[in-house]
């Protein structure tokens, strides 16, 4: 199965390109330190690099799945699509960085570089096929994220966020490793494929060890997805870190973690048995809790950013629903959900960022009567909010619909109902913003300013998919259908 390394490299181009972009950016950063034009150049380079990554991973989509580097990485259409999503998310975050005034100018390049690094980690994670790569991926992701979290120099909140993140990351990756070690002890290999084979025939005592071990293992991924009860760092970090960073965090690490989780679940726990039952049970409890806690906490928030952070937690729970049905339907639904979620989150954070740049903070009151000041922004935000709540004809609804299809084919009626009720609760706080924006009269009616045509077009360009994918979603679902996890 293993191919020689040069051959493997040909499948590894996206990751390589990402690394290349990273290095290139570092060089550019090093050459032009302070000049403005250099920064523009930098953004351009970053854009081009990431775009090329997207292109390549897009071309990797249709291809036969291959296991490269002695079967330590698997490049299949599933991983490629996840990668694409991550790259797009990074692009979005990068663009936001270029516009946002939440990060001082001289930190923006750093952010981009780090983000690319995180992206690389995510890509590794999404196609990791043995524990080592998984671990490396997670660490790459985490360590750079710690830095990102504490990006704001001299801002104590930011640094505190970084601190917490790092400590939390440290302990959870430690626990994960501890779990891994025991798994390795029992099954005698770190390669997923072989583990899967071994797992087919394990006796009772081994299971007694494996179950806790896998739980420890889950901690590592779970905290990346920020699912209850490993979510507690998330709000603090999301709040503490600059807005583009938050945007980035609420997309890329989540998607990466989900990718890893899906692969793990599908490789290890596809076969029914004690392990399967235990894993699914844990996941379903976690998913239900995640959604509920996320929504309930989101209701009480004053800051929209924080509200979105919590809502992203609840959406992670929703996606976990798609994971815990260990099936291709689930995978498909998760991919679709991630795509929809990507666009929705980006638009939402864009709007929040523009608003908070203009008015200093992003409390709900700032959104009052937004429609009279920035109609486009308000309407886009409206659409996104409805979409996040899962109201047709927007992509959020379709995503939810697919999650339901995945759940109900396995007859998880209770989970489905819980998910449904949660989306009702979520509608409540999404409506809160809509209400403020559309129904309230503006506290002050300034003319449309500070919202450049470029940003407008960006928001528009990101909103259109939210609508289109809600009505003509067949192409995407077929694509997602093709993106199966490669099992040997």
């Amino acid at each position: 199965m293993g191919q020689n390394y040069l051959a493997s490299l040909s499948h590894f181009i996206p990751e390589l390109l990402a690394c290349l972009t990273m290095f290139g950016l570092i060089l550019i950063e090093a050459t032009y330190k302070e000049e403005q034009k250099g920064r523009g150049f930098l953004f351009l380079a970053a854009g081009l690099g990431l775009a090329s990554v997207t292109v390549f991973s897009f071309f990797a989509l249709g291809k036969e799945p291959v296991a490269i580097f002695t079967n330590s990485l698997i490049i299949d259409s599933f991983s490629s699509s996840m990668k694409m999503i991550m790259v797009l998310g990074t692009l979005g975050a990068v663009y936001l960085t270029s516009q946002s005034s939440d990060i001082e100018g001289n930190l923006k390049p750093e952010f981009i570089i780090m983000a690319t690094g995180v992206l690389v980690g995510g890509m590794l994670l999404s196609s990791a096929n043995n524990m080592l790569v998984l671990f490396i991926g997670i660490e790459t992701l985490s360590i750079l994220s710690y830095v990102l979290a504490s990006l704001k120099k001299g801002d104590e909140r930011s640094s505190e966020a970084g601190l917490k993140y790092s400590l939390y990351g440290g302990i959870s990756s430690g626990i994960m490793l501890f779990g891994m070690s025991h798994i390795y002890g029992v099954v005698g290999t770190i390669n997923f494929t072989e583990i899967a084979i071994v797992l087919k025939s394990v006796d009772q005592t081994q299971i007694a060890i494996l179950l806790p071990a896998f739980l420890f293992f889950f901690v590592g991924i779970g905290y990346k997805i920020a699912c209850v009860p490993f979510h507690m760092w998330a709000p603090d970090v999301y709040e503490g870190s600059p807005l583009p960073v938050t945007t980035f965090f609420s997309i890329v690490p989540k998607v990466a973690g989900l990718a890893a989780l899906i692969r793990v679940s599908q490789t290890f726990f596809a076969t029914p048995g004690a392990l399967n039952i235990g894993w699914v049970g844990v996941l379903s409890i976690v998913a239900a809790l995640t959604m509920t806690v996320g929504n309930v906490s989101a209701i009480g928030q004053r800051s929209v950013k924080r509200m979105l952070a919590y809502s992203s937690i609840s959406h992670a729970g929703m996606m976990l629903m798609g994971v815990l049905v260990i099936s291709e339907l689930g995978t498909r639904s998760v991919i679709f959900y991630s795509v929809a979620y990507l666009f929705m989150t980006l638009v939402a954070f864009y709007v929040v960022s523009f608003v908070s740049d203009k008015y200093g903070n992003d409390h709900f009151e700032r959104f009052t009567g937004l429609v009279f000041r920035y109609p486009l922004m308000a309407i886009a935000m409206c659409i996104v909010m409805f979409s996040l709540a899962g109201i047709p004809p927007f992509s959020g609804f379709v995503a939810k619909f697919h999650i339901f299809t995945a759940l109900l084919v396995k007859k998880y009626y209770v989970l489905a109902v819980i998910a449904g009720l949660n989306s009702v609760v979520s509608l409540y706080y999404y409506l809160k913003i809509v209400r403020l924006m559309m129904l309230k009269d503006a506290e002050s009616t300034e003319s449309i300013s500070g919202f450049s045509i470029m940003n407008q077009s960006a928001v528009l360009a990101l909103t259109i998919p939210v609508v289109i994918l809600g009505i003509f979603w067949e192409k995407l679902i077929i694509m997602a259908d093709g993106a199966k996890v490669f099992l040997q």
Binding site: N130, M131, L132, F135, I136, E139, S142, I143, Y146, V147, S150, K153, G154, E156, R157, S159, E160, A161, G162, L163, K164, S166, L167, G169, G170, I171, S173, G174, I175, L177, F178, M180, S181, H182, Y184, G185, G188, T189, I190, N191, M232, P235, D236, E239, G240, S297
Partner: protein
């Protein structure tokens, strides 16, 4: 002859100790050490398992990488701690309780 169980016991102790430190100590540097303890317990496990049960190199590989990455993580962590210290003139964990849900 030291058996596997003793290794496992040691590593478990390390693990628990690490957790305990993480939980109990208020000094951030100490907590970093706690993380190190946990990682090392895992590394020890890998090594031990390789030595006793299955004789392939993957375990060793893992433990090596663990050591490396632990170093990296420690570096970043310490950097952050320094930043924190610069701002707050303290490395007391309870002073990092500003962000609240």
């Amino acid at each position: 002859m030291i058996s596997l169980s003793s290794y496992l016991f040691i590593s478990f102790t390390l693990f628990v100790a690490g957790i305990a430190v993480m939980i109990a100590r208020k000094n951030i540097i100490a907590m970093m050490l706690g993380i190190e303890l946990i990682l090392n317990s895992a590394a020890l496990n890998f090594a031990a398992y390789t030595r006793f049960i299955n004789n392939n190199l993957e375990g060793h590989l893992m433990s090596l990488f663990i050591i490396v990455i632990a170093a990296a993580e420690a570096a970043v962590g310490l950097a952050i701690v320094i930043r924190f210290f610069q701002i707050k003139e303290t490395i007391h964990i309870d002073d990092a309780a500003q962000l609240q849900s």
